[in-house]
């Protein structure tokens, strides 16, 4: 084991391989506040990549309802329990990662899912955190009763547990974009990767008898096009691009801006220690800060505050960066706000987005004298 820098933990940590960051890291930001759980992302992926025989239960993309949903069954609850206590002191994680807490004879903390664990992809769907009561309830923010959708794909981690777990080194991380892939010629179906990945985003193909995982639509990414699950998101919750480290973050890169500058997008279960590269804007309506910290780390409440400030017009730049989500099929590399307009460019400098930050609205009178009717909608 060697010491590597994990900026999400604000400290170094032990990992079997030396730090070797890709030239750039493919990354995404998911806004949980906008996700409606429609599973269009799931189907966009499923119909493209995993509709073959043997892939029936492979959901490289899934959307689960938190707090009760999980796929495979109880993936996170089981991993968290195995990991033991997880403590933060300020922004620094003082607990152990899954690598540092590895039992004797193992590379990491982990468990092997059983077949039936994959049989309930909709478990907990739309179930709130507490039992509904019959008492009168007045809605307020944050909610006392809540749930939210958590869309999940492979995190294409900086320190992938699957990669370090594979005894055959069949899993590799591409230096050009950080996408993590399984070599389909070399994998022998040992499934150590399934056991190692705490997010359980590696799957076993029943027919080919080897492991498979999200490929982040690399053929599209290589052409400057966003992955299918991102392009097809009808809730427009997904931003895709490349993320730097805190030291190399560019303020005009939308992903860097959301993750490093405004810090509204946070990693999922950073305490596992993988430095995952899908970032989440935490749900504003969840009252349980402890739950949010468990999922997204100690920055969850500050992220929500920053997000809400943007929504009421206090941070036009942040609002602009958020509005770029699913505004184009192209991968955005740079954005700029001038006045009330946001413009974004692809890697080759071509302008791919230009739109107002606030859509102009016209308010009409409530009563239409010409038709002699009251309008239901006046904006």
């Amino acid at each position: 084991m060697v010491d590597v820098e994990n900026w999400q933990l604000n400290r170094t940590m032990a990992y079997p391989y030396a730090e070797a960051r890709p030239r750039r890291q493919a990354a995404a930001v998911f806004d949980t506040n906008k996700c409606i759980g429609c599973q269009t992302c799931t189907m966009a992926c499923k119909t493209c990549w995993t509709s073959g025989q043997g892939q029936e239960y492979e959901l490289w993309n899934n959307v689960e309802t938190k707090p009760w949903g999980s796929y495979p069954l109880a993936w996170d609850a089981r991993e968290l329990e195995l990991l033991g206590p997880q403590h933060w002191e300020g922004d620094t994680y003082t607990g152990q990662t899954i690598f540092e807490a590895a039992p004797s004879g193992e590379r990491n903390v982990g468990f092997m899912p059983q077949g039936l664990d994959y049989a309930y992809p909709n478990r907990g769907e739309d179930e709130v955190n507490v039992t509904l009561s019959v008492k009168r309830y007045h809605l307020r923010l944050p909610h006392d009763m809540w749930f939210f959708y958590l869309p999940r794909i492979c995190n294409h981690c900086t320190y992938p547990a699957c990669l370090q777990g594979c005894p055959r080194q069949s899993i590799y991380k591409r230096p050009e974009d950080g996408i993590v892939l399984v070599d389909q010629e070399r994998c022998r179906g040992y499934r150590v990767c399934l056991e190692a990945c705490p997010y359980k985003k590696i799957f076993y193909n029943h027919t080919t008898r080897v492991s498979e995982k999200c490929v982040m639509c690399f053929p599209a990414v290589e052409q400057g096009i966003q992955p299918r699950c991102m392009r097809n998101c009808i809730g427009k919750i997904r931003s895709f691009g490349f993320v730097g480290t805190p030291d190399s973050a560019r303020v005009d890169n939308p992903i860097d801006f959301l993750v490093h500058v405004r810090k509204v997008a946070l990693p999922l279960y950073p305490q596992f220690g993988l430095e995952p590269n899908v970032y989440y804007i935490p749900p504003i309506h969840v009252a349980d800060d402890g739950f949010l910290t468990m999922l997204f780390g100690p920055g969850a409440r500050a992220a929500i505050d920053a997000y809400q400030a943007a929504m009421v017009g206090d941070d036009p730049e942040l609002l602009a960066a958020l509005l770029l989500a699913v505004s184009t099929d192209r991968i955005i590399h740079r954005f700029e706000v001038v006045g009330d307009t946001v413009t974004a460019w692809a890697e080759d400098g071509e302008e791919v987005v230009r739109m107002p930050i606030v859509v102009p609205t016209v308010e009409r009178t409530a009563f239409d004298p010409d038709l002699n009717v009251y309008r239901y909608n006046i904006t």
């Binding site: 119909t47 509709s51 073959g52 025989q53 043997g54 892939q55 029936e56 004797s104 004879g105 193992e106 590379r107 092997m112 899912p113 059983q114 077949g115 994959y118 777990g165 005894p167 055959r168 080194q169 389909q184 010629e185 070399r186 994998c187 022998r188 179906g189 040992y190 499934r191 150590v192 399934l194 799957f203 076993y204 193909n205 029943h206 027919t207 080919t208 008898r209 080897v210 498979e212």
Partner: protein
């Protein structure tokens, strides 16, 4: 000249238990060479190695070696204790082929790798140059390649009963449609249909000829060359053979290969020189795969009977 059991004349001349028949020879083998010791395994020369018959009486013509197993505590993840203390090994050759018969106790039959929690029973023979070279025990070294002959219970089942698939593991499954084969009833879709329909990419491992993923196979034994942990590579020529059967509460498996090496790094046994051999077993019920195995505690000098 050979006897009915195929044992060589030299074997009968020098054997201490000659004339009592092959069955009685089991465990009562003669000394072939004065210098044979506990660290040696002799491959007795016979007329023909019964490569597809673990129950053949010919195997009784070879002395049985009790091979003690050990933990695997070098490469992560470990197996901290072997699943059984020892296995029983015999070896034969016929001038063209060398065969090993391995027997061990395993009450659970794990011969399918369809479901995510299915792991196979398996066994392997390691062959390498040298006369009992201990350095090659961990799948060879950077300088000395090891030949691994790996029998897999699921491959054996595929050969004996047809390839196990979804219908085997999930007989009550229901699938709406497989999009690339939309005109075919999903319950009747076969692996070959994908290539026939020009949709081979939907079976990725099969499409790139991963040995684990083949739709059909000719042998339950994979021939592999390795230069240490994490380097095992399926050889271009797959000429290892064998057969495994259940015997009581355990497995009885024959693993064989031609004496002549046909692939780079493969151990060649043609000249009759001493070589190195070692063994390992995997228990599917215990989740064994890859480095989670029970290897022999030591390597053995492989002596070729002449």
């Amino acid at each position: 000249m050979t006897t009915t059991s195929g044992v060589s004349r030299r074997r009968l001349i020098t054997g201490t238990a000659a004339a009592t028949g092959a069955a009685a020879l089991a465990g009562c083998a003669p000394d072939y060479r004065d210098d044979l010791g506990p660290g040696d395994i002799i491959a007795v020369r016979v007329g023909r190695v019964p490569v597809d018959d673990p129950d053949s009486g010919t195997w009784g013509g070879a002395p049985e070696k009790t091979v003690e197993l050990a933990p695997q505590q070098i490469a992560l993840p470990h197996r901290e204790t072997p699943v059984v203390p020892a296995i029983r090994v015999r070896a034969l050759h016929d001038g063209r082929v060398i065969g090993f018969r391995m027997e061990w106790d395993d009450p659970d039959v794990d011969d399918m790798t369809v479901r995510v929690d299915d792991f196979r029973d398996a066994c392997a023979v390691l062959l390498a140059p040298g006369a009992g070279d201990e350095t090659v025990r961990t799948m060879g070294t950077a300088l000395t390649a090891a030949t691994l002959l790996h029998w897999k219970a699921d491959w054996q089942r595929d050969l004996d009963h047809g390839r196990a698939g979804l219908a085997t593991a999930y007989p009550n499954r229901s699938v709406d449609v497989y999009p690339p084969l939309i005109d075919e009833p999903p319950g009747e879709v076969a692996m070959a249909d994908y290539e026939d329909a020009g949709a081979g990419e939907w079976l990725p491992g099969t499409h790139v000829d991963n040995p684990m993923s083949l739709a059909t196979r000719a042998t339950p034994v994979e021939k592999i060359v390795a230069n240490g942990f994490s380097t095992s590579t399926t050889t271009p020529t797959q000429d290892a053979t064998g057969r495994g059967v259940r015997h009581g509460d355990g497995w009885r498996v024959v693993i064989a290969k031609p004496l002549t090496a046909r692939d780079d790094g493969e151990t060649d046994l043609r000249n009759g020189s001493d070589a190195t051999c070692a063994f390992a077993i995997w228990s599917g019920a215990d989740g064994d795969a890859g480095g989670r195995k029970s290897p022999s505690a030591t390597v053995y000098r492989l002596v070729m009977d002449t």
